[in-house]
């Protein structure tokens, strides 16, 4: 299992860089992954999305789709693309320590 250094911690990741063991996730890990994804700093809006995605994942076993995120009232689609430019579903899931999203929507 490939490992990666995130700050001072070593975390297990899959070939695409997603965490394979959620218990290794910390806010520092999230910030380090966000930096890799080109997001210099995670603000309160980012954290709102991350926390919602983690909650959904715990309840349903899957990261929520963009449609679900929009409907939840946590964030609008427009804002989501501004917060995580270049692929919000994948980036936010990776930063949140979740698996790579599998849907087509």
């Amino acid at each position: 299992m490939p490992q990666k250094m995130v700050g001072n911690a070593a975390v297990d990741v899959d070939a695409d860089g997603y965490l394979t063991d959620f218990s290794q996730w910390t806010r520092d890990v999230a910030a380090a992954i966000a930096a890799e994804e080109g997001i210099a700093a995670l603000g309160p809006a980012h954290w709102k999305v991350i926390e919602f995605m983690q909650k959904e994942f715990k309840e349903t076993g899957q990261a929520p789709s963009i449609r679900r995120l929009n409907k939840s009232g946590v964030i609008t689609t427009k804002e989501l693309y501004e917060l995580f430019p270049g692929g919000p579903a994948k980036k936010a899931a990776r930063i949140a320590g979740l698996k790579k999203p599998e849907g087509c929507v």
Binding site: R67, G87, K90
Partner: protein, 155 residues
């Protein structure tokens, strides 16, 4: 390692659910991958952005070879409505939005939407007939200019 696709211009030329959804999913999928995307609606594909029609796009059950149903059955009254309703319910369960919501989502994701001038003239439509997400009515020549440097996907 292949070079990543950076820009796509997607044409939606056919009506019906099976005609409009592929292009919409491609456009949304492109935006989800950070690919610059635009949609060009022409001919019956234009139903997907026409206010009066976008909420009631159906799937044809007659003369539709892709439909898993003999045309003789498909012709019975109510079959198209039933097939459409079943398909809509299934898509909703898979989190695929109905056309008006999907168009809004795709526009919010940063995709540009254009209507084909030739079809607009043919169907005698005006900008007010389209949903608010449509950026402008353009000619095919303008489409080619806008598509420069990217891939063109025809559906």
């Amino acid at each position: 390692m292949n070079e990543k696709i950076k820009k796509v211009s997607i044409i939606i030329s056919k009506g019906g659910l099976d005609g409009v959804y592929p292009g919409l999913i491609m456009a949304n999928g492109a935006r989800m991958e950070g690919i610059e995307a635009s949609l060009f609606f022409t001919f019956f594909g234009m139903d997907a952005i026409t206010k009066k029609r976008m909420g009631r796009i159906k799937v044809a059950t007659v003369g539709n070879p892709g439909m898993h149903m003999a045309s003789l059955i498909g012709i019975l009254p109510g079959m198209s409505a039933m097939a459409t309703s079943m398909m809509n319910k299934t898509m909703d369960k898979l989190d695929i939005p109905p056309v008006p919501e999907f168009v809004e989502m795709i526009a919010d994701a940063g995709c540009k939407l254009y209507a084909c001038k030739a079809t607009v003239d043919m169907f005698k439509l005006k900008k007010e007939d389209f949903c608010s997400q449509v950026d402008s009515i353009i000619t095919v020549g303008r489409f080619y200019e806008l598509a420069a440097g990217g891939h063109i996907i025809f559906t």
